[in-house]
């Protein structure tokens, strides 16, 4: 299975947020609201519920200041993503390495799109191994710069 996923297909500039929240719950809610504006998402409530249920099972804070909350739902028609830059690091995210979260990438996919879902998660995970990229994204002054920094990686 190839991990090569074009992020520009799943992330639009308007779905990048600068978050000023300080808690995990607030941040997830804000991002879910944003992601729910994507045409692929059919049910905002189901999205929110799915994201929080998944967090109950295990934190999606994968370390290095990054979190990837994700869910597969019947009401989602295709892989789609929203991103958030936390100006105040979120300490209650319970990341694997305990480091407060600075970047959140929320992903939703269709119920039967487990392969595409895994591919997208893997693609993000591989990208964030680069400390340079992580730092550039955290330091992005606005959402558009963030978006282009992330997308440029693909070229």
């Amino acid at each position: 299975m190839s991990s090569d996923v074009q992020l520009s297909r799943v992330l639009a500039p308007e779905r990048v947020l600068v978050l000023h929240t300080t808690t995990k719950a607030e941040a997830l809610r804000a991002l879910a609201d944003c992601l729910a504006t994507a045409p692929e998402v059919g049910d905002r409530e189901a999205l929110c519920e799915g994201i929080f249920y998944r967090e109950q099972l295990m934190s999606t804070g994968i370390g290095m200041g990054i979190a990837v909350p994700h869910v597969r739902l019947a009401s989602v028609s295709g892989p789609v993503m929203a991103a958030g830059i936390c100006r105040t690091p979120i300490a209650d995210y319970e990341s694997l390495d305990g480091v407060p979260v600075r970047l959140i990438f929320m992903i939703a996919a269709g119920k039967f799109q487990h392969v595409e879902h895994l591919r997208l998660l893997s693609s993000l995970s591989l990208r964030f191994k680069s400390e340079k990229l992580r730092d550039a994204l955290i330091a992005a002054p606005d959402t558009l710069t963030f978006y282009h920094t992330l997308i440029r990686q693909e070229d």
Binding site: S3, H70, H114, V115, H117, L118, S125
Partner: protein, 564 residues
């Protein structure tokens, strides 16, 4: 209906088509109902026959007469299929025992019926007439009806030494009955003064009936084998085989040979010369024979005449039935004990030999020429009623004997098991359940330590939320960097369908086939979606295969014990 169609039906004897249709349809319904009471289906056919014939008059005696050629055809098919059961091994294993038991049960019935009917008749006629009539009854009762016997054995999937011995006996006691008949009728002819031929001549005639029929069947078998070697098309195989059976029946009738023995010889030669190639031929014929059987037995019931009995007739019927039952039970027991068969044959074979069918009636019609018309019609009535009673209790006896011998259900196929099982019988409850929050690394450990192909994923209430398949696991091989932070839920596939344990296995397997999947999760009925087990195609096949093998082994062990 247009005038033209009416005309065509009338011209072609189409007036019989409706009774035939109702008989086949009604007989099948009757069998279904009667099977619910664990009674052999054949009794259902006969009961429907009684209902449609003597009770409602829907099938008239005239129609039964017109359908006589069909009866001969049905007997031919039955003979062919019984012959197909007689593999060489049976004779190699039980040859001597079959001969001894056959002689004992045939002579046992001959003596018992002879003595009892003579005892009855002596009160109503002179001793000579009593002797003549009782000798004919005695000679006729030896023939066991192979059709109903084998039909019950097939219905209950019997396999083992008793089944093998019984099949051989019912196939051969027609020949014994013919010999006894020849002797009996000659004796009766001498006594009544209607003798047309001497005993030696009568025996010679029986010899011609039997050996001629055997030769006809054998020759036809080699011709049929030659033809069937040149075609694999099932439709053509069926057409050629049915055609061959019809030709043999026609030739046997023309040359006054025994129809059943001729078609039986055809079956015996086919199954022993080309066992593998002919397996499909017999399987096709068995399917083809289903409605033929139904109609045959419905007509057995319809033929019954309910009126016209007097005390002598009823006493004779009683003597005929009791004598047949006692003679065959006692005779086969003594024969089995003398030839040292296994206990199951000795104790239970007798119960399986009661059914009597058209052969007895047919022989009696031929024998009745030796008597005046009043006596012959009384004798015919006795044999028709007696054979009817034996036809009703016979199948019950076959089932009882086969069950007591432990041979029921030993000849099953996987399809038979599928029909009787529910999901609960074969679902896998030992498959490890994966919690939705289990990390991917833990899931891989679980999967690596077991050999299942599908793992149900449940939440903390054990509600099914998905399933992990080996394909799903394979997808994670290239994303191992995710192993530490993904959980089972992330890689679980949604379940396309699920079943409850009470669902019929056939229905569940049909669902699996339709969805083109390998497994179905099983959830508790009416309890949310609580996980109960997995119905995996692979383990169902393995389980059913093992069960069929175990049953075959059990039957083979019984065979082995029977031979040593």
């Amino acid at each position: 209906m247009t005038e033209l169609l009416k005309c065509v039906l009338a011209e072609t004897g189409g007036g019989l088509i409706l009774p035939i249709g109702v008989a086949v349809f009604g007989g099948t319904v009757g069998a279904k109902i009667i099977q619910r009471f664990h009674i052999p289906q054949i009794i259902g056919y006969i009961v429907i026959g009684v209902l449609l014939g003597p009770l409602l008059g829907f099938i008239s005696q005239g129609a039964i007469g017109e359908l006589e050629p069909f009866n001969v055809f049905a007997l031919g098919i039955i003979g062919f299929l019984v012959g197909g059961e007689l593999r060489r091994e049976i004779f190699v294993k039980f040859g001597r025992q079959v001969a001894i038991v056959l002689l004992f049960e045939g002579l046992g019935a001959f003596l018992a019926v002879g003595i009892l009917t003579f005892t009855v008749m002596i009160f109503f006629s002179g001793w000579q007439m009593a002797l003549a009539i009782s000798v004919v009854f005695a000679a006729i009762c030896a023939a066991t009806d192979p059709a109903s016997t084998v039909s019950v054995l097939w219905e209950y999937k019997a396999r083992g030494p008793l089944t093998a011995m019984l099949t051989a006996i019912v196939a051969l006691d027609d020949a014994l009955a013919l010999v006894l008949y020849a002797i009996g009728v000659s004796v009766a002819g001498v006594i009544t003064g209607h003798q047309e031929q001497g005993l030696a001549s009568a025996l010679g005639s029986s010899f011609y009936h039997i050996v001629g029929a055997l030769a006809l069947g054998a020759v036809a078998a080699f011709v049929l084998i030659w033809i069937l070697k040149r075609t694999d098309d099932p439709e053509k195989v069926l057409a050629f085989t049915v055609g061959a059976v019809l030709v043999i029946i026609g030739l046997a009738a023309n040359f006054h040979l025994d129809v059943i023995i001729a078609t039986m010889a055809l079956g015996v030669v086919l199954v022993n010369v080309e066992p593998r190639r002919m397996a499909s031929c017999f399987s096709l014929m068995r399917r083809f024979s289903a409605p033929v059987y139904v109609l045959f037995f419905v007509l057995v019931g319809a033929r019954l005449k309910l009126s016209g009995g007097n005390s002598m007739i009823w006493l004779l019927v009683m003597a005929y039935v009791v004598g047949s039952v006692a003679g065959k039970t006692g005779g086969s027991y003594l024969g089995a004990a003398y030839s040292k068969t296994v206990k199951s044959i000795r104790n239970y074979l007798g119960f399986c030999l009661y059914p009597q069918g058209g052969i007895a009636v047919g022989l009696l019609i031929m024998a009745s020429r030796k008597f005046d018309s009043e006596t012959s019609s009384i004798m015919l009535l006795v044999v028709i009623i007696g054979a009817f009673i034996l036809q009703i209790i016979g199948p019950l006896g076959v089932k009882f004997g086969a069950r007591k011998a432990g041979e029921i259900g030993l000849n099953i196929t996987e399809d038979d098991l599928v029909k009787t099982y529910t999901v609960a019988d074969v679902m896998d409850t030992e498959v490890p359940v994966v919690g939705a929050d289990m990390s991917l690394s833990e899931v891989i450990k679980v999967v690596g330590g077991t050999d299942s192909s599908c793992y149900p994923v449940v939440d903390k209430d054990r509600t099914l939320v998905g399933a992990i398949t080996l394909d799903g696991i394979r997808n994670t091989f290239s994303t191992q960097e995710l192993n530490d932070w993904l959980v089972a839920l992330d890689i679980a596939e949604p379940v396309a369908a699920k079943v409850t344990p009470d669902v019929a296995l056939s229905e569940a397997l049909e669902k699996i086939r339709r969805l083109d999947i390998e497994y179905l999760p099983v959830v508790a009925a009416g309890d949310g979606d609580k996980h109960v087990g997995i119905l995996s195609l692979r383990s169902v096949r393995r389980r059913l295969g093992a069960e069929v093998l175990a049953k075959q082994k059990e039957a083979d062990n019984k065979y082995a014990r029977a031979v040593t």
